[in-house]
């Protein structure tokens, strides 16, 4: 099953996709390290992470089938 990763807003300018499947990894820090390796420009972006539709503020353990969302701030009106 792995991890489902969702990208929102201007983050998709970097990833060019809104969603991808990622091999299972133990926690969100490891996941982000992998994603930064694949999308180096993410390092310059501001965003928060949500695990299974709940915002997280620290490293969190992951289990098979979890969904992680990467949400940047929006400012347009």
């Amino acid at each position: 099953m792995g991890i489902k990763v969702l990208f929102f807003g201007s983050v998709t300018d970097i990833t060019q996709v809104g969603e991808l499947s990622w091999d299972y990894c133990a926690d969100t820090n490891i996941l982000m390290k992998g994603l930064l390796g694949r999308f180096p420009a993410l390092a310059n972006k501001k965003y928060f992470l949500a695990l299974n539709q709940q915002i997280i503020h620290e490293n969190c353990q992951l289990k098979q089938g979890d969904t992680v969302a990467i949400m940047p701030p929006y400012s347009g009106g």
């Binding site: 915002i55 940047p72 400012s75």
Partner: protein, 369 residues
């Protein structure tokens, strides 16, 4: 209630009645921004009978507003948005009071204006205003309803909801204001008209629920809408331990106009020569010139005179793709290209030029010749 017949169709709803209508009539809300989000917010709140509505915007109506700001029409071009909006809304509902603020919200006026209202609707298009609204609402213990769009997506959330204990506010999502150049505004990135219509209407819905205390609110959750997939995604929000304590001294020390550049202020000191389209056309005749397009890859149309296309979002990792020679930089409107020119000049050490007005100006000139 004098206007019973006007509101009868909402008053007969289960749980609504005279009581909810009376709460709407007594409510005072401020809408900051009278653009794509502000127009539908104003129209629906006025229709519903919100008794006092403040509307704030310094801008005038322009032709490129009309595809999304459908309260305005062609005869309004050039007029102040708040005065046009107030005039039209009076025709929709003469029984409510509309207060006009034809200027921008700033640190000097925000406290005493927001103090007069129960709730603020954020219909702004920049981070400085959103952080200012957030901090002032936290200081004054006011609820605000956040709305924003980003290309094909939009989102809404109720912030600092005083009807629930320990409500989150915007700094729990993003404790620090983003750099000015990290994100483009709608002016540059484009927006499909119906999207702020949907998000603004959602904000109006949340405001009506907040005022009448009906139903479940977007309490501590962010609702994200994707136009292309037609889907909503909800994220529950919690307190962020890194969020600053917002008190008076924090407020007075924060520079909402300038904060966004504090990490990049050295860039601001770099003077960039801007060239107009006529000068660009001369450059294109010279051999050996190098033109860089910094628009994102999905932005159209492509143009054949550029030598490289390095989107703004990946520029910092891509400097080695640039030659050691003067670079002429172009984007959609000529805003991002100035920042790209500053960044490349500072970090690559080559002369850079930004094309004033960007491809919009280029096509205007070329098509008129």
């Amino acid at each position: 209630m004098a206007d019973y017949n006007r509101y009868i169709r909402q008053m007969i709803l289960p749980g609504f009645g005279v009581d909810a209508q009376q709460k709407l009539a007594e409510a005072k809300v401020l809408i900051v921004g009278m653009g794509g989000l502000g127009c539908p917010i104003l129209q629906y709140l006025a229709g519903a009978g919100v008794g006092t509505i403040g509307i704030m915007d310094a801008d005038r109506v322009s032709l490129s507003n009309l595809h999304r700001q459908v309260l305005f029409d062609e005869s309004d071009i050039g007029q102040l948005k708040v005065s046009v909006a107030a005039k039209k809304i009076k025709k929709l509902n003469s029984g409510i009071q509309v207060m006009q603020y034809p200027f921008q919200l700033n640190k000097e006026n925000a406290l005493y204006i927001i103090k007069e209202f129960d709730c603020v609707l954020d219909a702004t298009d920049n981070f400085g205003a959103k952080y200012l609204i957030n901090d002032v609402c936290v200081l004054l213990n006011k609820t605000w309803i956040y709305g924003a769009v980003s290309e094909y997506e939009g989102q809404v959330a109720v912030m600092n909801n005083i009807q629930i204990p320990d409500s989150v506010h915007y700094r729990h999502l993003f404790p620090k204001q983003p750099l000015r150049n990290e994100f483009a505004s709608c002016e540059e990135t484009g927006v499909i008209g119906v999207l702020p219509g949907i998000i603004g209407t959602m904000q109006a819905a949340e405001a009506i629920k907040w005022i009448t205390r009906l139903g479940k609110m977007q309490n501590s959750r962010l609702l994200n809408y994707h136009f292309l997939s037609g889907s909503w995604y909800e994220i529950g929000l919690t307190h962020n331990p890194e969020a600053p304590v917002i008190d008076e001294s924090f407020f007075y020390q924060t520079n909402y106009d300038m904060e966004c550049i504090n990490e990049e202020e050295e860039l601001d000191d770099i003077d960039i020569a801007e060239i107009d389209v006529k000068q660009l056309l001369e450059v294109l005749k010279q051999p050996g010139h190098f033109v860089l397009d910094v628009r994102e890859l999905h932005e159209y149309p492509t143009v054949d005179f550029v030598h490289a296309r390095i989107p703004m979002s990946v520029l910092k990792e891509s400097l080695d793709q640039l030659p050691n020679q003067p670079v002429y930089i172009i984007c959609h409107q000529g805003i991002r290209s100035v920042y790209a020119a500053q960044y490349i000049k500072l970090h690559k050490g080559v002369e850079t030029y930004s094309v004033k007005g960007g491809l919009t100006a280029y096509f205007n000139t070329v098509n008129n010749e």
